[in-house]
């Protein structure tokens, strides 16, 4: 047997993403190369330096600048990409909101990592939650292959919907792990993802003058924000269709028992460990959320409606309340389902998430609690 026959390669997560971006071929890439960053932009810079890529690679003086550079590049009507993480994303926050507000189809990778203080560069998903409400499509991937596929889809979605897309990958757990993955070739990507041709008026062009990100007074601001919200919400159908077209799967994924008593819900790489923990005979289901914004409420409700207990496993918390995803599940369940919904917090700041912890969560899932339960051991 030879694994290379099906084009699988053994790659580090960051490299898999970098090779995919190279094959997609954005016109402009900008990033700030300091911790917390990843090998993604290091590899992309090297491809350019070695003459293997045609994009403009702009090394910025800060994350704020990197985000502003891709904003500017996208505003001229070309494909633009950046990658960031943790404090870097926080520094970009102002620009992140602007990118969505200006309807620029930028794609960004967020290698999810914790937020200071205390200083900690390890994995959790608190960083992305700081821009949860910015108007971006937020995708989450469990493994290298999902990450690679989501990046290809991200450009198609962004350009079709005129909305920015962020692909989230667990920092270290995915970015620094070697596992087999298939990288789609330039030709394969070209068949799926057409060249980017923005419409007149969508970008800065003296032949067709337009203003992006202008002042909107109280007479108009609210309608413009409402439109962004409605477009983002409506984009769910397109996202679901592209997931089906490109990966043959949906934007959520259920596995486990047919009539589960308890359903565990999570996002990202922890799903693998959860699947390994749950036995086939256990009356337990596992629900993976791949699209967090827009939030696939109906799809989720359909799956969880008959369960008795729902345990939501978060790597982020709205401090002073409960886990971020748990809060969303409680909101959509309101008046629709009667299950006991509990919030479990795991893996903050890189704490290893073990099968023992998942077993503990399964045991606690049928006990009523409205508080965030921290499972650190």
């Amino acid at each position: 047997m030879n694994n290379t026959k099906n084009n699988q390669q053994m790659l580090e997560g960051s490299r898999a993403i970098a090779l995919t971006i190279k094959n997609i071929g954005p016109a402009v890439i900008s990033a700030y190369p300091i911790t917390p960053q990843t090998h993604i932009v290091e590899d992309l810079a090297k491809f350019k330096a070695d003459g293997e890529a045609n994009y403009e690679y702009v090394r910025a003086e800060s994350e704020f600048a990197a985000a502003s550079i891709v904003l500017g590049a996208s505003a001229t009507g070309v494909r633009a990409y950046s990658a960031t993480s943790s404090q870097g994303l926080l520094l970009m926050a102002e620009v992140i909101y602007n990118i969505a507000g200006m309807r620029l189809p930028i794609v960004m990778t967020c290698a999810n990592r914790s937020i200071s203080a205390p200083i900690n560069i390890w994995n959790d998903q608190q960083d992305v939650m700081t821009i949860r409400d910015a108007g971006w499509i937020l995708l989450f991937s469990e493994n290298h292959q999902e990450a690679v596929n989501q990046h290809v889809m991200a450009f198609k979605l962004a350009e079709q919907l005129k909305l920015p897309v962020m692909v989230n990958v667990d920092g270290f757990i995915m970015t620094h792990t070697y596992e087999p993955v298939i990288i789609p070739s330039v030709e394969q990507i070209k068949k799926y993802l057409p060249d980017y041709r923005p419409e007149a008026g969508q970008y800065l062009d003296s032949a067709s003058p337009a203003t992006l990100g202008a002042l909107a007074t109280p007479a108009h601001y609210m309608e413009i924000r409402q439109e962004l919200h409605e477009d983002l919400t409506a984009s769910l159908k397109t996202i679901e269709r592209e997931f089906k077209n490109f990966t043959g799967q949906g934007l959520i994924e259920y596995s486990g028992h047919k009539n589960p008593e308890t359903i565990l819900i999570a996002m990202g790489s922890v799903i693998g460990t959860i699947k390994e923990t749950v036995g086939k005979s256990d009356k337990i289901g596992i629900l993976k959320i791949k699209c967090f914004r827009p939030f696939p409420a109906e799809q989720i409700l359909k799956i969880i409606k008959s369960a008795k207990n729902i345990a939501v496993i978060d790597k982020s918390i709205s401090l002073g309340h409960i886990g971020t995803l748990a809060s969303e599940i409680k909101a959509i369940a309101q008046g629709k389902i009667k299950a006991n919904i509990s919030s479990f917090i795991v893996g903050l700041g890189g704490r290893d998430i073990t099968r023992e912890m998942i077993k503990k969560i399964i045991k606690l899932a049928n006990k009523k609690s409205d508080k965030a339960q921290f499972i650190g051991k």
Binding site: M10, W122, F172, I173, T177, E179, P180, T354, R355
Partner: protein
């Protein structure tokens, strides 16, 4: 599923060793995974890295708490840490040392402990005390989890563009393979 835990010190190429095992296992037709322990990496500080090998795709992400194989790149770690933590009766350890195995402080049956003077081979062939690839030669011979050929291919892939380094490392790996 085979779980391999590698112990060494920062600067000894512990993470690279795990990656080489995963690449070589993959080239041998298996599914594999490798990742570091994501510690604060300082030269000389204890470092761990992990590799898993299986016939099916590997989805488990937790660190390795029940190793089937331990690779210990620096025997001085045995004096201060319990390297065999989580090991069972079948767990084997491959240790870089010039000492006899009866003088090593490791809580495993003696028959499960293999020693190799990787430092000596590294100094002679590579000219530097970099033992991570050398010890993998012994690993391939003792465990049969990866073939020598796949290991050589993995080294060539990992160090692509550095021909002299590849040649020296392959020579050292062959030597270690022969000695065990």
């Amino acid at each position: 599923m085979i779980q391999i835990r590698i112990h060494g010190r920062g600067g000894q190429g512990v993470v690279t060793a795990a990656e080489l095992i995963a690449i070589a296992a993959f080239k041998s037709g298996k599914q594999a995974q490798a990742f570091p322990s994501f510690g604060v990496e300082r030269t000389g500080a204890p470092v761990e890295a992990y590799a898993r090998i299986d016939n099916n795709p590997i989805i488990l992400r937790e660190q390795i708490y029940q190793p089937n194989v331990l690779i210990i790149q620096d025997a001085s770690l045995l004096d201060n840490f319990d390297m065999s933590k989580g090991a069972d009766k079948k767990t084997i350890a491959i240790i870089n040392t010039a000492k006899d195995k009866s003088n090593l402080n490791i809580n495993l049956p003696k028959a499960n402990v293999y020693t190799i003077d990787a430092t000596k081979i590294a100094m002679e062939i590579i000219g530097k005390n970099i033992v991570n690839t050398v010890i993998l030669g012994a690993f391939a011979r003792i465990t049969d989890l990866v073939s020598l050929d796949a290991l050589k291919q993995a080294i060539a892939e990992k160090f692509a563009g550095h021909d002299e380094l590849i040649a020296k490392n392959i020579k050292a790996v062959e030597q270690a393979y022969k000695n065990n």
